[in-house]
Every structure is written in structure tokens, then in C-alpha cells.
Amino acid sequence: MRLELKGITKRFPGVVANDRVDLVVESGEVHGLLGENGAGKSTLMNILYGLYGADEGEILVDGQRLELEDPGDAIDAGIGMVHQHFMLVPVFTVAENIVLGVEHTQRLGKLDRERASAEVAALAERSGLPVDPDAKVEDLPVGIQQRVEILKALYRDARLLILDEPTAVLTPQEADDLFEAIRAFTDEGRSVIFISHKLREHRAIADRISVLRRGRIVGTADPRTTSEQELANLMVGRPVELSVQRPPATPGPAVLQVRGLRVEDALGAPVVEDVDLTINAAEIVAVAGVEGNGQTPLVRAVTGLQAIADGEVTIAGRPVNGATRKEVLRDGTGHVPEDRSSDGLVADFSVAENLILNLWDAEPFARKGTLQFAAINDHARELVSAYDIRTPSVATTAGSLSGGNQQKVVVAREFDRPIDLLVASQPTRGVDVGSIEYIHTQLVAKRDEGTAVLLVSSELDEVLALADRVAVMFHGRLVGPFDTPISKEAVGRMMAGADPEEVLGTAPGGQP
């Protein structure tokens, strides 16, 4: 199916989210849509799917003008969408989710479940996306759930499939499976709009790439002839450093010392076991690992958020065992939590308020139990300009900012005071290229000030780009840290549980 968008404009109060967007998606094409967070990709797709109405412009499908009142119209026109947050009912079965809204019934309105299961099984088989039609969706891993979403669109005979950040929740292997499914789909003459801010993926799957910046299409590129650097520059609107400039570390005395740490979950099972780790002043130690191997409880124990079952943790000589969370943070620890929306920010508070969450009762922001808004706002304006936070004002609620800018608020708050230890957990998750570059630069700058940095990341590229030493977590235990440079392949194998001696051919280096 050939899709044409002409002059689509959408205004929200105070913002033009889409500004005269023209876009053509040819039959059988994978069209990449690249842009930073907040560039207007999702808005454009929601218009195309009938969730928003456009203020101006028209949508043509195979030359026919399309009027979209609601998603039902888009589905009828052959448009399917896989949302970033899955639109699946967790307690329903796969088949129930897929037929929802277009159910076949027998007498008395009875659902024809057998027919639904059979049709879904056949469709799954045909499209190379195997799935058990009678499994409950909540019991399925995320990658399979996404498959169900795609099948849902195929069941409605979608001829254009919109994939909104489909790889954000996938492991690399699952992403490869997805790319294969996309290829099979377009081989039938169907089209795909692929949204992502990961340059590498666009180059891997897209036939053509349109770059959206601040609501406008700023260019269309051929992935075969365009480099990642050129795409990044186009997307951000200025030359971007894709690699981090990092002088060698000059480590100082030990700051974080972890000895024999054991952390247990709510049921008393160990989630971190026997972990020893020392991080010195002015060095970045990265903890790599597939998520769920104990990184989260490790970080929570180090920052005083979770009880230490056994072992001891000290920061610049001060024990964390027995200290309150407030004491740990006030005494000189910065913490960028892995989930900014639940742990990093209060979405309904203003940017200014969020910027003093760690110093809410300290001078000069509070005096005699009263918040000093003049000081708070001045402080916020300073940080907003120093950390390049793109916000209409410091009174804007943090939740209304784009992901990258939300993360910059957290980073500004945690970085902008003298600290001994900085704990940064997944600091660039869901953040666009421009912001990633910025946050990486800030991390290195913090290190060069003399701060010890504990970086936890599941992005191997990030680990290797920033770390002075790399440790790997697997099943609650830590191996390393190892001196860098270290090969990506070696770290990858240790993330899967391989023995370090075998991988590196020698005894673990780095730590004496």
C-alpha cells in the first residue's frame, strides 16, 4: 500500500508538534522515521492511526483521501500499529486479544473461541511468528507479546504497519527475529513505518529514512549511502560526537568499598551474593550484565535504599550499613536511578521542584520549614541553562517533558553538587542521541572532578565507551572488574555466564 501524508500540521497548546509534514511510504517499503524524543514522531503516527485529529493536511492511501475519526477507521483502511506500550489485555489469551473488536460469534452472541484459536494459529504459522493462541498474554515474555501485537495488526489485514520504538523492549536476538518478520511482511508488498532513535537499527532495516526534527521533516536519506554520523547530525541539527572523548583516568584513593555484600529479596532469597568491589576517586567502573542479574539490588544497597543482609559498604570511609537513605545521599552520594519516571522524578512537580528533591530541606531552598521559592527558581534557571534542559519554563511539570529532558533534570540535580560517589543506573535509557552525547560528556567531566563513578548499564556500547574498568554481573555475583580496553565479545560472553579465565585466557586482571 502506498501512503502519502500531505502538509500534516498538529498544534498542542504552546507547541507545534507536527509542522506541514509531507511523507511518502511506497508499497513494500520499510520507511524509517528517525527523530529525537519529542520531535513529533509519535504524534504523527497517532494522527495516522486516528487517535488524534490533524489540524491541517490530508492523508492519501493509494491515491484515495482518507478521513480518520478513530482507530476503527484506520484499521478499516488497512493501517495497523504496534504501540510502544503494548495494547494487550494481560489477563486475556493471545487469541482473545487478537480477535478483540472483530470477533466471530455463534448463536446468542457466543464467542467462537475455537475458530479464533485456529485462525490465530494459522496466521502465526503463515507469517512466521509462532505463538500459542491459548496462552495468557501476561505469562508471555515481552518479545512474544510484541509478536501478538503484530499478529493483531495482521489479523485485521494491515497493509501498512506502524512500529513505534519496537526494539526498546527487546533483547538483540529478539530484535533480529523482529527484523526477519518485517522483511517477510514487506515481501508481500505491504509497507512498514519503523520508528526508532537507534541509528544502527535504521541502517539495518530501513529502505528509506525520513528524519523529523522539532515537528518538521528535515531530510530523507538512503541508509546505504548515509553514515550514522550524517544521520545523527541531521536528527540533532548540529554535528554530534558519537564517540566519547575520554582522557585516561588518574584514579585516586578508594571511595566506594563493598565487602562480601549479600542482598535478599522480600522472600529472603539472595539476589546479590558475595560481591566485592572497590571504586577509586576519579574513575568510572561500569557494571555490565543482562538486566535482572542483581544490578538493581546492588545499586539500591549501595545507596542505602535496600537493606544489606550481610557484608559491608562504605563510601569515603562512612558506613552505609545502618545509615538512613538521607544520610547516605546528603553525605556525598549522587544517584541517577534506572527508572526516572518512578524513582527519579515526581512527574506532577515542576522542573524547579524536581531539581531540589535531594536538598528540599536544606539552605538556601528551605528556611524554618518553609520553601524559599525565589532561591529554588533561581537555582532551577541556572541548571536549566547549564544542563541544556529544553523546557518552556522552570514551572513546567517534569512529566510533560520529553524523556531526554526528564533525564537531564535528574542528571542536573544529581551532578550539580560536590559528591564523592556517583551511582548512575541506565543513565541513557530511552534518551535520544543528542542527550546521550551530553550525558556521557557530563559523566566523564564528573569523573575528572575526582568523583568515583559506578555506572550500571545493559547497553554494552555505553559500558565500553565510558568505563575505566568493567565488571560483569551474572546471577547475583560479580566478576571483575577488569581493566579496559576489553573486547566486546569477552564482556558479552561473561554476561551470559562464561568463566572469565576461559574468556580472557588469564587470571582476572585489574583488581589486585
Binding site: 500499529m81 489485555v89 482473545e96 478483540l100 446468542l108 452472541g109 457466543k110 464467542l111 532469597a269 539476589v271
Partner: protein, 418 residues
């Protein structure tokens, strides 16, 4: 990692708690029922006064030996609860213990007297009727994602209106429609305020209860007390199903009831089927679980919720009409006495399923009926205390069984398109 290893430990702790419950029950059985009976023999009457195919003998038991036998079974269950446990049947065994306790209690209460088993069971089913209907109202609303705590208000409005309309029309069927209308009207206010204007569903529910209580009490004092002809509704009479109603024990309990009881049973079965087997039910549940998902496949979320709440109003209106058209035959101030909240509890204990809610309603109906039956037996328990039985049972059941309840995911959350 080895997280699952500890799950059986939690299960064991839970079973030991159940064991403590069994021991408490055992203590009461041995300490009170076995020692303080007023007579040696208890008589359970199994016959109904009306026509039967054949007569059953009365069941006469010796109080102390019977209580001791029941106690012994409880003791064995308690022992097992503390040692090996019952695994997946743990909750079922708590129910068995409760049943044994009730049997011992009835034996003790009926000592030196006669207890009509038919009357007790028949009354339990009748009293379960409004509770089950109210619970259905809750189920259909909450499955669609709207919390309806205003069932008590819908009951009162339904009871009042049904009384007045039936009095005027001299026809209980027209009265029933009046009751339905009133239930739907309250539901309409709930729907409008919570679905359209996104008001907090709990707050609106409370307001509607207060509103309905106030309005019916006011009209009762100002209008009905001066015009008794407006408050003398024609009632439904009991219907006897031919032949079936003459089966001993079963007949009078299930087949000689008012039309409202039959209606309730049909409503429970129909709603259960509709919710879980039909397209309508699938869509309604999708709206309560993940409204945005429903929206993106073209289901109108707000309209679905509106209809569900109004349908709930129909059930609750019928439930309210039960008081004036079936049980009592006259409206009095706050006559529903908190049964709307018990209906809410029945819905929760029944885990948002119509059949489950009906089962819970039976328990509460039984507790309700037992309080009345025992007053007639002149049991040495203060009658005020007996009348709290339904509420005590509610607390016990809700506290004991609510552990792993999983409400619809979007329950109580207004839906807004971005």
C-alpha cells in the same frame, strides 16, 4: 535464582494461620457447645407444612455426642494443617471447618427445641436474593472499570420507588419497573459524574448513598407516613413449580419461592455466561482491564462503561425492590440496613464473577437468616448480638479470603483519550 524455594514456606505459614483458626473454632465447640447445651436432644425438622410427595422423618441427634464427633473432625483437620498441610485445598478445608462449626452451633442451639431446616435454607436463599443482585450490579460495573459502591443507595431508591409505584398500580410487576427505574437513575448519576466528568468514583459513590438515604428518608417522613395508601404495595407471592416443589427438602427450598428468587437465579446464570462467553462480555472486560487497548481496536470505551453502569442499575434496582415487593411489603427508613455493602463484599469474595458472588451471597444470606431463626428458638444469645451475625461473617470471610484478589486492572480509573 532460587526465589521459588521460599514460596512453600509462605504457604506453610498461611496453613498454620488456618490451623490457629481451627483451634479457636475447636475451643468454642468444646468449651461452649459441648458443655452448656440446654437439653440432651436436638430435633431438625426436614418437612415442610405444605404438600409433599412423602414425609421425611425428623432428624433427632444427641447434642453432646454430636458436638464431640464434629469437634473430633475439626481436631484432625487442625492437626493436618499444622503438620503436612492441605496444599491447594487449604482454603477449601477452612470452609469445611466453618461448616462443621455451624453444624455444631445449630445442634447446640436446637437443643430441647425444634429447628426447621427447610425454613432455614429457604430463608437463606430468599435473603441472598438482594445481596446477589447487588453483587451482580457491582460485578458488571467493576468489570467495565467503574467502581460502584453506591449499591446501598440504589437499593434504597429501588425499594422506595417500587413500594410507591406498586401501591399506586396495585401490580408488583409495574412496581418492579419502578424500582428498576430508580436503580437506573442512581446509576445514571454515577455514570455521568464518573465516566463523563471523571469525578472520583469512590467519592461519587459515597455521595450517592448519602443522597439516596436522605431523599428516601425525607419522602418517607413527609409523604408516606401521612399517606399510608402510598406505602402498601402489592407484593409478589410465592410460586410453586408443579411437582418439583413437592420433592421433600429440595422442593420447598428451591421450587417454592417468590418470582424474584427465580429471577435472581436466572440473572446470575445469564450474566455469568454473557461476561465470559460472549462478544459483549469480552469487550466489556477489555474496557475494564485495558481501556486504551480496547480503544485502539475500535471499541467505544465510554459508551461501554455507560451501558455497564446502567445495567448494574437494573440489577441493583431489582435488588432494592425485593424489600418492598417481596420481603416486607412496606417501605421504612433505611430498611436495607447495609445490605448494599454486604453485596459489595459478596462481589469481592466472589472475585468479580457472578457465580462466585452468588455463592458468597448465599453465605451472607444464611448468616442473615440464622439470626432470625435463632431468635425464634430463644437461644441464650442476646438478639442484638445475633443480628450482627451477617456483618461478623462478612468481616471474617472478607479478611480470610481476600488475600490474592485481583481486580480488573483499570478498575476505578477514568478513561481519557489523550
Amino acid at each position: 535464582m532460587s526465589q521459588t524455594v521460599t514460596a512453600p514456606a509462605a504457604q506453610r505459614r498461611r496453613e498454620r494461620r488456618f490451623g490457629v483458626f481451627s483451634l479457636l473454632v475447636l475451643a468454642v465447640m468444646l468449651g461452649v457447645f459441648a458443655t452448656s447445651a440446654r437439653g440432651e436432644q436436638a430435633t431438625f425438622v426436614l418437612n415442610d407444612a405444605r404438600g409433599q410427595l412423602f414425609e421425611l422423618p425428623n432428624l433427632v441427634v444427641d447434642v453432646v455426642p454430636a458436638v464431640l464427633v464434629l469437634s473430633a473432625i475439626v481436631a484432625v483437620i487442625a492437626y493436618r494443617q499444622f503438620t503436612t498441610g492441605f496444599g491447594s485445598k487449604a482454603v477449601l478445608l477452612v470452609g469445611v471447618v466453618a461448616l462443621l462449626f455451624v453444624l455444631a452451633f445449630l445442634t447446640w442451639a436446637a437443643a430441647e427445641g425444634q429447628l426447621s431446616v427447610v425454613g432455614l435454607l429457604r430463608g437463606s436463599l430468599a435473603r441472598a436474593t438482594p445481596i446477589a443482585l447487588g453483587a451482580l450490579a457491582g460485578v458488571v460495573c467493576e468489570r467495565a472499570g467503574v467502581i460502584n459502591i453506591a449499591i446501598e443507595g440504589q437499593f434504597l431508591a429501588g425499594a422506595f420507588t417500587a413500594a410507591v409505584v406498586s401501591s399506586l398500580a396495585s401490580d408488583p410487576w409495574i412496581g418492579l419497573f419502578g424500582g428498576i427505574g430508580a436503580g437506573v437513575l442512581v446509576a445514571f448519576m454515577l455514570a455521568g459524574l464518573t465516566i463523563q466528568f471523571k469525578a472520583d468514583q469512590i467519592v461519587v459513590g459515597v455521595v450517592l448513598i448519602v443522597f439516596a438515604t436522605g431523599v428516601t428518608s425525607f419522602l418517607n417522613t413527609q409523604v408516606l407516613s401521612g399517606n399510608p395508601q402510598l406505602n402498601s404495595p402489592t407484593r409478589f407471592t410465592a410460586i410453586a413449580v408443579p411437582v418439583l416443589s413437592e420433592i421433600p427438602l429440595i422442593g420447598p427450598v428451591f421450587f417454592r419461592q417468590s418470582v424474584m428468587v427465580f429471577g435472581m437465579l436466572i440473572a446470575v446464570a445469564t450474566l455469568h455466561y454473557a461476561l465470559f462467553q460472549t462478544r459483549w462480555g469480552l469487550r466489556l472486560r477489555s474496557v475494564g482491564e485495558h481501556p486504551k487497548a480496547a480503544d485502539t481496536v475500535g471499541i467505544n470505551v465510554l459508551a461501554t462503561r455507560y451501558k455497564a453502569v446502567l445495567l448494574g442499575g437494573v440489577f441493583a434496582g431489582i435488588g432494592g425492590a425485593w424489600w418492598t415487593l417481596d420481603a416486607v411489603g412496606q417501605f421504612s427508613r433505611e430498611m436495607t440496613g447495609g445490605r448494599g455493602f454486604i453485596a459489595l463484599a459478596a462481589m469481592l469474595v466472589g472475585r468479580y464473577s457472578p457465580v462466585g458472588a452468588f455463592g458468597a451471597a448465599l453465605i451472607f444470606g444464611f448468616a442473615d437468616q440464622i439470626a432470625t431463626s435463632l431468635q425464634l428458638l430463644r437461644v441464650p444469645v442476646p438478639s442484638d448480638l445475633l443480628l450482627t451475625a451477617p456483618f461478623l461473617v462478612t468481616i471474617l470471610v472478607v479478611a480470610g479470603l481476600m488475600g490474592r484478589l485481583r481486580p480488573p486492572a483499570a478498575n476505578g480509573k477514568p478513561y481519557t483519550k489523550e
